[in-house]
């Protein structure tokens, strides 16, 4: 109210003070000035509120989604330990997986070991290849060659994971069977399938990291008389190391969470893998193949949710590692 009165005063003052006679301010008059319109938010401000509100809503939805995923999976995953009283230590270290038999038969060590084995092996095989391609694209080849490899990696990303699984089933498994005997299913087959799947992830992130190395570093090194390889090895790779590590971790996160392709070639037997060609099971493969066979709320089902929780936690750990390395790299 106070503001409105002030505004009226100002309008009256302006009319009294007016010096230019041909502007007929009096005709407009203080009474016809719509004070309400002047003091209320304009149409633009309303639009702004609406637009901003919509974007806040969208971002809020995504956050609620992530929180509820963690909440729901956490709640069901912990039920094994809180409701069914399975010992967490036993769960992590025992190799006896037969949840239908009661709480002393819920040991996930086989799945944990196999999951980590395939992930580490796939990253180990893929990283040299990824770095070689990235170096070729940024340091060696012409723009045409780099573009070609770029589309090659994009295509590799685009091929659906079941197709990789199917190829593993029809090409890799028979090859392993003839070379090493046995069924062919196992860690080796899963590693080879995952190698192709994580290769493009690691490659494209490594390319970014190499491109981020300032060009004058290379020139300075060359000016000192270093060879091309010396420049790459002692300067470029050194500078890019933190981000290359990040790339490898992203690749590992993808390998760890990959479900169907691995499930198709791992063999799906909950047995401790004693070599690379014996059938085993990963966290994801066990979830994929068993979730449909259990009844909601029973111990076998809760045990599977605990595996899902483990996957979720590992995914968070990978994220955390990436952040940690990112922070170290900035220093």
């Amino acid at each position: 109210m106070d503001n409105k009165d002030k505004l009226k005063e100002v309008v009256n003052q302006a009319i009294a003070d007016q010096q230019v006679p041909h502007v007929k301010l009096k005709k407009i008059g203080p009474s016809s000035v719509n004070i309400d319109k002047l003091t209320k938010p304009s149409k633009e401000t309303h639009q702004e509120y609406w637009g901003k509100g919509l974007t806040y809503l969208a971002i809020g939805l995504i956050i609620i989604l992530v929180v509820s995923i963690i909440g729901f999976v956490g709640y069901h995953g912990l039920a094994t330990f809180t409701n069914d009283h399975v010992n967490i230590f036993h769960f992590l270290t025992s190799t006896d997986w037969d949840p239908g038999e009661g709480k002393n038969h819920v040991g996930a060590a086989v799945m944990i070991v196999t999951s980590f084995a395939v992930t580490l092996l796939a990253a180990l095989v893929a990283t040299p290849f990824a770095i070689a391609i990235a170096l070729y694209m940024t340091e060696y080849s012409s723009k045409k060659g780099a573009n070609f490899l770029q589309s090659v990696t994009e295509l590799l990303v685009g091929i659906p994971s079941v197709v990789y699984g199917f190829l593993g089933l029809t090409l890799i498994i028979p090859a392993i069977r003839t070379l090493f005997g046995g069924t062919g299913f196992g860690i080796l087959a899963a590693t080879l399938v995952l190698f192709v799947m994580v290769l493009p992830t690691i490659t494209s992130l490594t390319v970014d990291s190499l491109k981020a190395v300032p060009n004058h570093f290379r020139k300075a090194s060359m000016a000192l008389g270093a060879t091309h390889w010396q420049t790459i090895y002692h300067v470029v790779l050194r500078v890019a190391t933190p981000r290359i590590l990040t790339a490898v971790i992203f690749g590992m996160a993808r390998a760890f969470g990959e479900a169907l392709a691995v499930q198709m070639v791992i063999g799906n037997a909950v047995l401790m893998p004693y070599n690379l060609v014996s059938p085993s099971a990963t966290l994801t493969s066990q979830l994929t193949s068993q979730m449909g066979n259990t009844v909601m709320g029973t111990l076998p089902n809760n045990a599977l949710w605990s595996l899902a929780l483990l996957l979720l936690i590992m995914s968070l750990v990978f994220n955390f590692l990436v952040k940690l390395i990112g922070k170290k790299g900035q220093k």
């Binding site: 974007t55 995504i62 999976v73 069901h76 659906p160 079941v162 996957l311």
Partner: protein, 295 residues
């Protein structure tokens, strides 16, 4: 060994490794296409899948894949667009924004099977929707949101700052500037992002086996009433997509020609993905040229 020899050796090794990867890729794509395309007949595309005999097709799976793709895009696009606008235009550089970015990154790195199981828990069990297209589409939305959001954010950030300033100088509100100036300018990038994410949705299976289900229902293609139970548009029916079909016939199926069916389906999937990739690039370039008058 002196430095020069080392340099040569390193170069040779890098070339060999690159050569191996190119060969592997050529082998993969070649194998999929060569073993699959001969079986990709009109009959295969237009006949029903069989459950135990040879000679089934993928008509329903193909339709389901496309339908899920469209539904997912319709649901996820507004949310991703809003979130991307927030991140690119409104978000301040502080800890809240950082937290939001971390959240989105977490969502994008969650294993798709975990996202699928969450969808199963929430929609199939909790909301009682059962194995249905709508459950699948929502699970795929979760899976799709982070990638689509960051693609669109990149596109919006690529619009020069001067264009925003020009809009604001004309007295437009921030929102009007975004809607009338920034979004049209970012459209090529946004479209490319949508198409690329569409390729991912089309091939996704892990998030679907426990949400959209692993079996189809009888579909009557003459009935286009979305509420009727046999209509292809009904969102409450269980649906098996192409990618799930490949998985299913290889792991649990008993049809004698599983290899042929999966080879042909794989070829179909890969061809669609290639078309999406090329389409995204072509459309992006063309729109960019049209909107910016660049040659």
């Amino acid at each position: 060994m002196d430095a020069k020899k080392r340099d040569k050796l390193a170069t040779i090794i890098i070339y060999i490794l690159v050569g191996i990867v190119v060969l592997i890729l050529a082998g993969i794509v070649g194998n999929i296409l060569i073993s699959g395309i001969p079986h990709l007949s009109w009959h295969f595309l237009t006949s029903e899948a069989s459950s135990y005999q040879a000679g089934g097709g993928v008509r329903d799976q193909l339709f389901n894949s496309l339908y899920l793709l469209i539904l997912t895009t319709i649901i996820s696009l507004p949310i991703a667009l809003g979130a991307a606008i927030y991140l690119a235009e409104y978000a301040k550089d502080n800890w809240i924004t950082n937290l939001i970015r971390t959240t989105i990154q977490i969502l994008s790195s969650l294993p798709s099977i975990v996202v699928g199981l969450f969808g199963y828990l929430l929609f199939v069990v909790q909301f009682g929707l059962g194995f249905s297209i709508i459950s699948g589409a929502l699970a795929l939305t979760f899976f799709n949101l982070p990638i689509l959001t960051s693609n669109i954010e990149e596109a919006i950030k690529g619009v020069p700052q001067e264009q925003r300033e020009a809009g604001l100088a004309l007295g437009l509100s921030n929102w009007k500037t975004i809607r009338g100036i920034v979004l049209p300018a970012a459209l090529p990038g946004i479209l490319t992002g949508i198409i690329l994410s569409a390729g991912r949705i089309f091939g996704e299976a892990a998030a679907l086996i426990y949400t959209a289900g692993q079996s189809g229902s009888t579909i009557n293609y003459a009935d286009w009433n979305p509420l009727s139970p046999t209509s292809p548009l009904n969102v409450m029916r269980p649906a098996e997509t192409l990618a799930v079909h490949i998985w299913k016939v290889n792991t649990e199926g008993i049809i004698p020609d599983a290899t042929i069916v999966s080879a042909a389906t794989s070829a179909l999937l890969v061809i669609v993905v290639i078309v999406f990739n090329l389409g995204a690039r072509y459309l992006g370039n063309k729109l960019y040229r049209k909107l910016t008058a660049a040659k």
